[in-house]
């Protein structure tokens, strides 16, 4: 039998439901606050604590999953759904045509098939013309995109949309299943890679997450591709240090 959950676990889980995703530092702080609120001794073993919750969530096909952000390279925790049933399809956050705009053949294709892991708002607006469920006007499409950004499924930067960390964490099995020919794994961390730098040697073409690039090439004066040894022609970003407490 899985261990029963106390109020601290339930409080943590409820906050994860409300927030969807939080970074590692916030998760540690959250656990501390939950312990304080319920007068429990401070628990520093976040991952073990989450394992106890996950054991109880498993029968409901839910999970608090740990993953890395393509953007800042930090650890995140997200509460994800793993069930794909007639019941979960009744989920009411988005209408059918709004989901069609987001999913395969539309926005997700544009993002996954691109070399940069991004899609321009122009391209997304264009593909909205061919929706099969129900047409979306330009204004409506923009409104849906805004909501997808607000709900943390998409990320927007200067008119370019990418999949958010929350989205990749929950949708990774879907991405691996439906884009097995297009999607690559990061040469360094071996996770699905969308936003990245790519080796320009046409016979190589490996992809590396930007934060993985930063960590891998840190301090090297002559950056070379870890696979083919060709010169790595991209700008090497600084390593993003997680904020002080850890």
């Amino acid at each position: 039998m899985a261990r029963p959950l106390g109020e601290v676990h339930k409080r943590f889980l409820q906050t994860m439901m409300a927030k969807g995703i939080i970074d590692g530092d916030k998760a540690k702080a959250l656990l501390r606050h939950c312990c304080e609120t319920h007068g429990a001794p401070i628990n520093d073993h976040l991952d073990e604590f989450i394992e106890v919750i996950n054991a109880q969530l498993q029968p409901m096909f839910m999970q608090i999953r740990k993953g890395m952000s393509e953007e800042d390279g930090l650890q995140y925790y997200a509460l994800v759904n793993m069930a794909e049933t007639d019941v979960t399809r009744m989920s009411s956050d988005y209408a059918d045509n709004e989901l069609e705009l987001f999913r395969k053949k539309k926005t997700m294709d544009l993002i996954v098939d691109s070399d940069t892991g991004t899609a321009s708002s122009t391209d997304i607006l264009n593909c909205a013309d061919s929706l099969q469920t129900k047409k979306l006007k330009k204004k409506e499409t923009e409104h849906v995109l805004n909501r997808l950004v607000q709900d943390e499924w998409l990320k927007e930067k200067q008119g370019e949309y990418s999949l958010s960390t929350r989205c990749i964490m929950e949708m990774e099995p879907y991405i691996r299943r439906f884009y097995q020919d297009q999607v690559k794994l990061c040469h360094i961390c071996h996770n699905v890679v969308l936003q990245c730098q790519m080796c320009e040697n046409p016979t190589c073409g490996i992809k590396i997450h930007v934060p993985c690039v930063a960590r891998y090439f840190k301090g090297r004066t002559d950056p070379r591709c870890p696979a083919c040894e060709d010169f790595w022609p991209h700008e090497i970003p600084e390593v993003n240090r997680p904020s002080s407490q850890s």
């Binding site: 439901m17 794909e84 979960t88 987001f102 439906f178």
Partner: protein, 85 residues
Amino acid sequence: GKEKASQLHAEGSSFDPSAFAENLLSFMGLNRLEDEGEMSGGYLPQDAWQKVGNRAQCCFRTAPTFHYMLGSFLAEPPPPRQRIA
């Protein structure tokens, strides 16, 4: 008989919705403009209602809601993979 008795016992402060609105506007951080009538003037900061919501949250035992993307739509079977015979 009975109703009257309870009304007699119902001394204590009365509640004036106008005063309530005025006090709530102050709580929201209303920037009152000078030389204006009491109700017309001033503008509210952008987070005015968020502020009331945050403070009022402790009155509600609302269950958090669960939102997800995976599973919210029917995933069609993957297209047949093209293979070179």
